[in-house]
């Protein structure tokens, strides 16, 4: 530490952190492969890549969250292998995660000193702690009341508390994962001044962002990951936006899922100036769009774009208010709740099958029939033979692989679980299908089968709205694409216009 230059604008010769050959697998899925990365004192390195490129996994390895990985880590020339976040912190690595790691019921000061409280005679010394917290926040130029409970603070101030907590440990390496997602403009300015200050004090900052504008402002160097592999690292000046996008998108979009040119039929879904609120914030703002029978409309957007909230709002399942007008087949859509939505011909496959899609302890049959019980059990009494028959038929159509239809869905593979969710929604005979990440976390074979299914469904006249964070997939499947950025619809492409670069640029808020 002492050897570091006071204000190291040009990177020092030896890296502060050296990652070599980092690899990580989750079961059969490889999410990182042979990533090399150097990090110098006094610089801001922006880690860029699409959703699922491996950015979060990489910093979780550095932060001691994932401990079984391949490769080596050196900090200040010493090989290390952090086995827990606490160990990583002791090594001088502080990570500010997107999901805040604060205890909501404790005060700001208590949170800042969580895990290593100031003590006196073995008891927490609240006065000293508050005083130290106050001094720290003052140094950082943050105006926070240290005795207030974190849960009573607005999200932006919680985020600032998280940052203060990381800095309180006097870390040498500070990783920020999309820190500005909840901040307003003046707070972002404050954060950027803070980062400049950290640089001047010889800290190394890793910054993850999806926003082009932020990259342009604070990046010294850029490191790009794609599909778990290191594409390259270059000084920011050598990587203008166009080239950066090219690095991020990279791969040729093969026609591995040929889509027949759609014959768009009549208008199925019409949405006008639709807004959705969540936690008092407008997360979808005055979005207008339409989808036709036989069409797949892609909805592109990075994290926080509001695409999933749009689906929740249309399904009547959000927890906040909505406004705007929606028609389905020319009739105004009643947004009273999921039951009404289903009855009107809407189905919503959520992006997390385990927490919102499936009832894991129940059988394949029970899950498949759950949303359609009013029809399958007229008068209330269920008809097991009929339930089994419809499940078997849908299972055959989707090539479901299961030893028995009475199996708990918990025991199925990810791909087969996803098929069960699809079976549940197809059983309701929808006219409009809202699909949020239908292929997340499933193997290639099951993906292809789901693609095939989507084609068959559109051929039968369904309208599909599709969210996918895998850009090649979205581009290959969609007949048209609309792009959301911070809740607003910012761009619209037809099939011929939609190149990966253009869609990604629009999703990142560029033009």
């Amino acid at each position: 530490m002492a050897a570091l230059p006071a204000a190291a604008a040009p990177p020092a010769a030896t890296p502060l952190v050296r990652l070599r050959g980092i690899g990580k697998r989750f079961g059969p899925v490889t999410v990182l492969r042979g990533v090399d990365l150097d990090l110098f004192a006094g610089e801001v390195l922006v880690l860029a890549g699409e959703n699922g490129a491996g950015k979060s996994t990489l910093i979780k390895i550095l932060g001691g969250v994932h401990t079984d990985f391949e490769g080596t880590i050196e900090i200040a020339g010493r090989p290390v292998r952090p086995r827990s976040p606490l160990e990583a912190a002791a090594l001088g690595v502080a990570i500010i995660f997107q999901e805040l790691s604060l205890v909501p019921t404790l005060s700001v000061a208590d949170n800042i000193f969580l895990g290593r409280p100031r003590t006196r005679y073995g008891f927490v010394d609240g006065t000293a702690q508050r005083e130290a917290a106050r001094r720290l926040l003052e140094q950082l130029g943050l105006d926070l009341d240290v005795v207030r409970r974190v849960k009573d603070l607005p999200l932006a101030q919680q985020q600032l508390t998280e940052i203060a907590k990381a800095l309180a440990r006097d870390a040498r390496v500070i990783v920020m994962d999309e820190p500005t997602s909840a901040l307003n403009a003046p707070e972002v300015e404050k954060l950027f001044r803070l980062i400049a200050d950290l640089k001047a004090r010889g800290r190394a900052v890793v910054y993850i962002t999806h926003k082009m504008e932020e990259i342009g402002r604070i990046a010294d160097r850029l490191c790009v990951l794609r599909d778990g592999e290191h594409v390259g690292t270059a000084p920011a000046a050598e990587l203008p936006p166009a080239r950066l996008l090219n690095w991020m998108v990279g791969r040729e979009v093969e026609e591995q899922f040929p889509r027949h040119a759609a014959q768009p039929g009549p208008e199925r879904l019409l949405v006008e100036e639709f807004s959705v609120w969540r936690g008092g914030r407008a997360v979808v703002r005055e979005v207008s769009l339409q989808a036709h029978a036989g069409e797949i409309l892609g909805v592109a957007g990075l994290q926080g774009s509001g695409a999933s909230d749009l689906f929740a709002g249309l399904f009547g399942a959000g927890h906040g208010a909505v406004s705007g007008r929606v028609w389905l087949d020319g009739r105004p859509l009643d947004l009273a709740g999921p039951r009404r939505a289903i009855d009107q011909g809407l189905a919503w496959l959520t992006n997390d099958r385990k927490t919102t899609g499936l009832v894991l302890p129940l059988s394949i049959i029970a899950n498949t029939t759950l949303a359609d019980l009013p029809h399958l059990a007229p008068g209330g009494w269920r008809q097991p033979t009929r339930e089994r028959a419809v499940t078997r038929e849908l299972g055959a159509r989707l090539a479901l692989r299961a030893a028995s239809l009475d199996l708990e869905v918990e025991a199925l593979s990810g791909g087969n679980q996803q098929k069960v969710v699809l079976m549940k929604w197809l059983q309701t005979r929808p006219r409009v299908l809202l699909l949020d990440e239908p292929t997340r976390g499933i193997d290639v074979g099951a993906k292809r089968e789901i693609y095939q299914l989507l084609h068959d469904l559109t051929a039968r006249g369904l309208a599909i709205l599709l969210i996918s964070s895998e850009l090649p997939e979205l581009l290959a499947l969609s007949d048209r694409i609309v792009v959301l950025h911070r809740g607003r619809l910012t761009a619209h492409f037809n099939r011929a216009e939609a190149t990966p670069e253009r869609v990604l640029a629009a999703a990142m808020g560029g033009t």
Binding site: P338, T350, T356, G357, V359, L362, L370, P374, A377, W381
Partner: protein, 340 residues
């Protein structure tokens, strides 16, 4: 090779492993073990007499009825602490109406059942509608119903002793419905309360296994948000589960009053815990979404027979309680789901 790895290996393959992985077979095995225990410690042949079995079933029936309702609530992911107090409230009310007011059972029984269902429904409304935790909502109902039982009875047991206008006490005859419920049929071999218990179990089984409502109850217990997004009427389904539990507690209360020939406002204290223990020993997990009435039936028999065997062997109550505690832990340990 350790026993654990051997078990793991068997569990993965073979018929025995699959058999053991099924909670019903484990509950069944527990019952068989208890029965074997009875054959060994038969208390000079007492265990082999038909009357012993009849009494074991009779004594377990009230708990079994409560456990059926508890099973519904636990499958939905909740818990119902109020059943013991509701039992007392209904026992008092039923005695007041039948003995003192002279109501016909055709009127008194439905009114008492409705009272129990109302208590359960209110607790269910508090937890499903106002999002109070089930523990808190039913705890409040437990205290309230006990208080109401004491208010209605004036703190006294409601018996056949009736105060005359001149201040002296006289006895009125025990109502026929009391005597009927407390009687035996099939040549003295089966108690009527046991028949009532079996009927309750059959009805709840039918609802859980064959009715849309039962399926939706499992879905809510397994994943409430997924159920809601699938169009399941979550609030209504849950309120009905608590109301059903209250109704079954009322059935148990009527049986209890008939057996004691009086309405005791202190009756049923701690019965809710026995009912929970029966459900858990049967193998229905407290986490919800799994289990069933068949398991609860096995749990009722296990607990009922254990009690009977201990009592015919004159094991003091203090030791019986400790042993029951140990058995609950052992049952839950064997029934813990194994991770693959």
């Amino acid at each position: 090779m350790t026993l654990a790895s051997l078990t793991a290996k068997v569990t993965r393959r073979g018929g025995v492993g699959r058999w053991w992985a099924n909670p019903a077979s484990r509950a069944f095995l527990a019952l068989v073990l208890v029965l074997v225990l009875g054959c060994v410690f038969h208390a000079e042949g007492a265990f082999f007499k038909a009357g012993t079995h009849r009494d074991a079933l009779r004594q377990a029936s009230v708990f079994g009825i409560l456990a059926c309702g508890m099973t519904l609530v636990i499958i939905s992911g909740g818990i119902d602490l109020a059943v013991g107090s509701v039992l007392a409230l209904v026992a008092v009310s039923f005695s007041l109406l039948s003995i003192h007011q002279g109501w016909t059972p055709a009127l008194a029984v439905p009114v008492c059942l409705a009272l129990g269902a109302l208590c359960g429904g209110v607790a269910g409304g508090l937890t499903a509608g106002f999002r109070l935790q089930p523990f808190i909502a039913t705890l409040a109902m437990m205290v309230f119903a006990r208080g109401l039982a004491k208010t209605l009875s004036g703190g006294m047991k409601v018996s056949t002793a009736v105060r005359n206008p001149d201040g002296s006490y006289g006895y009125v005859p025990v109502p026929g419905v009391f005597r009927f419920i407390d009687s035996r049929i099939l040549g003295d071999n089966l108690s009527v309360v046991t028949v009532i218990f079996v009927a309750c179990a059959l009805l709840t089984w039918l609802l859980l296994a064959r009715h849309r409502w039962g399926r939706e109850l499992y879905a809510i217990g397994g994943n409430e948000e997924a159920a809601r997004l699938s169009g399941v009427p979550v609030v209504r389904t849950k309120v009905l589960a608590y109301a059903a539990s209250g109704l079954l507690a009322a059935v148990a209360g009527i049986c209890q009053a008939a057996q004691e020939q009086q309405g005791d406002p202190e009756a049923g204290a701690g019965y809710e815990l026995t009912a929970i223990a029966i459900v858990v020993i049967g193998g229905t997990p407290l986490t919800g979404g799994r289990g069933g009435i068949g398991l609860t039936l096995l749990g009722t028999l296990t607990i009922g027979y254990l009690e009977k065997i201990l009592s015919i062997n004159a094991v003091p109550e203090a030791s019986r309680l400790m042993l029951t505690g140990v058995i609950i832990v052992a049952a839950v340990l064997t029934q813990r789901r194994r991770r693959s």
